[in-house]
Amino acid sequence: MAGETTHTSDPKLDPIQAPAHDPVPALTRREAMLQMLRVGGIAAVATGGGYWLSEHSSRPAAVHAEQARRDHRIAANPQWPKMTVVQGGEPRALAQRALADLGGIGRFVSRQDVVVIKPNIAWDRTPEQAANTNPDLVAEVVRQCWQAGAKRVIVTDVSCNEPRRCFQRSGIQAAARAEGAEVILPDPELYREVELGGVVLKTWPVFTPFLEADKIFNLPIAKHHGLTGATLSMKNWYGILGGERNRLHQQIHQSLVDLASFMLPTLTIMDCYRILLRNGPTGGNLEDVALKKTVVASTDPVALDAYVAKAYWNLDPEHLPYLQMAANRGLGTVDFDKLPVKFSNLA
């Protein structure tokens, strides 16, 4: 305390006086114990919690992907043809006849089935422009599924253009809803990571409704395509995927086969009512559209694609390598002319 005198000489540095009338009461033993318990408790919780969290620290792993091939095929029945080509009618009549030719809807849909119908609703185009599946064709399939006693009938696709526009302007939303189907627009939160098990397609996000179906109907439309010449039924499976689909073109044939061997439909009904001959798959110009008034349906997607490619684009299987690759994977046969095929003409 040697410096005390010098301090007091400076009035600004006067030590602060403790207030005389406010003595601090002594801490009781009880209060001291409580304080110790509080501090100790907080310290214990912090230590325990911190230890527990640090134990759980690991490098974030990729989302667990489910592994499941979606095989919705039905047993082959020699009583019925494997493929049918119906010509000369309006879309509803064509679909009715095609289903009847293959044994009727009851062969494909059982009571209480959840049926997912996958038309092509990729582009903001009207039915006349033939870039999306014909809405009447979709509506007829919906109607028949209800007849067969389905529990739910869902119509959905993962569009390329703005989905709200595609679903409205394709006419499919209105037509399917009029028949009582659930129309599901692509929702960024409704994807699950799936191990597709392909050669090039490993883990991809798949739109959930396609994973929760009992039966799946593929309803593509036959169109010209710049890279492969034609886009047919297998290309329609691009629309079950989310993620960066624009990479699939790099190995388009392998991608198509990988997808087709992951997703095996109950039935494929190809819309050839109007087909897009040039400037596909988007089209737009009515001069590129040809009215064929045809529907081709098959339980063998490979044979179906091979038939349509030959019939409308005169493309042989060697022009579309994915067909042979798919046949080699056991997905069907390229030689459609060796199959029992039924031809009908409604006109």
């Binding site: 710049g226 790099q250 388009i252």
Partner: protein, 546 residues
């Protein structure tokens, strides 16, 4: 006690118009309706508030020598102001309502005496008249820069590009964990809530906007200013308030003060919105009063009332000195030439300034665009964003397309339908002309620019890999992207035949679908620049088109 009901009526009116504003803003989005395959149009009158905005109408008339579409409706606000004063600011304007609300919140900086003091008339309130004069003079020079400060532009821009996207994000952040819950009840609750919100207020897609943070923070700062001084923005900056204030000098409705009964209790000052001195003894500032009626409602002596045709001493006109008037004029005169000395207008175009379809040539565009962001809010592909420097400083926050985030949907014309001033002139999908309709001779389509390949990055050009996703997406027919087969050698020495894409500039409409679809996402190998845009005769590549 009829008088005390006026503030209640005002509150109801304010809530109604705020709700109307937010409702219309939420409806400023793609909502399919009508026939099964019909074109999609904007049905809700989402431009309503801009059509009520006399500032937009007058400035637009100065700048473009015309009144676009419904702007004549703004007389609905302007004419009653001649009789009733600034009722619009106090009873209708949602920007005012929000500040009113924040101004009523308890604030450390505004207690009792401080609150009264903060509501006294201040000379700085005349700043808004300087802003107005400068803005209108700038409009005469052909710039709608006043849109930066117009209250509806400010509101739509801030809400549409910052607050609503943030709200979207927050709601999803809260609901998603609920929806992924293992407990069925929580899961269904989350899903139901999400579906209900999705059908009403949430955007179909999670939108985001360049500068959203800046716009949001600016807006919140303006609101927070009301914690210190109620309606600081309305009192000191708002050019629409200034316009209505200037017009209200002729108003026949005014505040009647009964000096005999006033005991200077200051209660009228406590919740005064305009800072116009309703208290007895001081001169009432007519052009500052927002007709909020709080003073009438709070006077315990009933010595205040609003009356038609009174003869009392007041400050009717804005308290604007000659010097301040000259400052405003000088600022307006100098601003546009200075900004254009910088950009040269059209002589130094930014290659990435891609205006929405239907936009007028840059000169005309800047004389109309009020930077409200309606076009950006409505774009279903989140393709339009506010510019930072692409349109020069003068064009700050005007719209530009960012194809990497979203391309222009071929038959969509929503942005042209919501534009309140005709900067994006209203067009039909047929006039846009990207999809050849049923029959009818095809005139030249609207073009936003032209696409070009970066052959150093393109997969078939540079990396010996198949691709042409761009060609698949090209929406015009015949396609503007055509391919040529070429033999290339890969790293293993194998010969491969690939299709290499090229652009036909006479067919390309600059929609950006190719750039959007390109797998090289962060720096696409095909990109759109503004050359060839149909709105600008001076920005063309080709001598003639097929």
């Amino acid at each position: 006690m009829v008088r005390s009901k006026l503030p209640l009526l005002r509150r109801i009116s304010q809530i109604f118009f705020l709700a109307l504003f937010l409702g219309l803003l939420v409806f400023t989005s793609l909502r399919p309706s009508g026939g099964a395959t019909s074109d999609i149009h904007m049905r809700a009158p989402v431009r309503l508030f801009f059509e009520w905005d006399p500032l937009v109408a007058i400035a637009n008339a100065f700048a473009s020598h015309a009144l676009y579409r419904g702007l004549l409706w703004s007389l609905l606000i302007l004419l009653p102001t001649l009789f009733l004063g600034r009722f619009f600011c106090g009873w209708i304007c949602p920007m005012g309502t929000l500040q009113h609300f924040v101004g009523n919140m308890p604030s450390e900086a505004k207690r009792g005496k401080q609150r009264i003091e903060s509501n006294r008339y201040r000379r700085w309130q005349t700043a808004k008249y300087v802003v107005l004069i400068a803005g209108l003079i700038a409009a005469c020079f052909g710039s709608m820069a006043i849109g930066w400060l117009d209250p509806f532009s400010l509101l739509v821009r801030s809400f549409g590009l910052a607050i609503l996207p943030a709200f979207n994000f927050a709601v999803r952040a809260v609901l998603l964990p609920l929806e992924h819950s293992h407990i069925a009840f929580i899961k269904t609750t989350g899903q139901t809530l999400h579906q209900a919100l999705q059908a009403t207020v949430l955007d179909f897609r999670m939108p985001h906007f360049a500068q959203g943070l800046v716009l949001g923070v600016l807006f919140l700062l303006i609101l927070a200013a009301s914690l210190r001084i109620t309606r600081l923005w309305c009192r000191s900056i708002c050019p629409l308030g200034a316009l209505l204030g200037a017009v209200s000098r002729w108003s026949i409705l005014g505040l009647h003060k009964d000096p005999a009964t006033c005991n200077h209790c200051n209660r009228c000052e406590l919740h005064c919105q305009g800072g116009d001195d309703p208290i007895g003894g001081a001169k009432w500032h007519k052009s500052e009063c927002l007709m909020c009626m709080n003073c009438v409602g709070s006077c315990p002596e009933h010595s205040l009332s609003f009356r038609f045709f009174r003869n009392e001493s007041e400050v009717a006109s804005p308290d604007l000195s000659r010097r301040k008037t000259l400052t405003g004029i000088a600022a307006g005169v100098a601003a546009v030439p200075l900004m254009r000395a910088n950009t040269g207008l059209g002589k130094s175009r930014h290659e990435r300034l891609l205006r929405p379809p239907g936009s007028l040539d840059e000169n005309e565009f800047l004389s109309r665009c009020i930077r409200c962001g309606e076009c950006m809010k409505v774009c279903p592909n989140n393709s339009l964003h506010p510019t930072l420097d692409q349109a020069g400083l003068e064009g700050l926050w005007t719209p530009t397309m960012v194809p990497r985030i979203g391309y222009c949907e071929p038959s969509c014309v929503l942005c042209s339908e919501v534009c309140p001033t005709g900067a994006i002139w209203q067009i039909t999908p047929k006039e846009k002309g990207w999809v050849v309709g049923v029959g009818g001779a095809q005139s030249q389509p609207v073009r936003l620019g032209t696409a070009f390949y970066d052959r150093g990055r393109c997969l078939p050009w540079a990396l010996a890999t198949d691709c042409i996703v761009c060609e698949e997406w090209c929406p015009v027919s015949p396609k503007a992207i055509y391919v040529q087969e070429a033999e290339v050698i890969d790293s293993a020495g194998n010969t491969k035949t690939l299709k290499q894409p090229r652009i036909d500039p006479s067919r390309c409409v600059g929609c950006g679908a190719c750039e959007y679809a390109c797998p090289l996402q962060e720096h696409p190998a095909v990109y759109v620049t503004s050359i060839g845009e149909s709105r600008s005769p001076s920005s063309q590549i080709l001598l003639s088109r097929k």
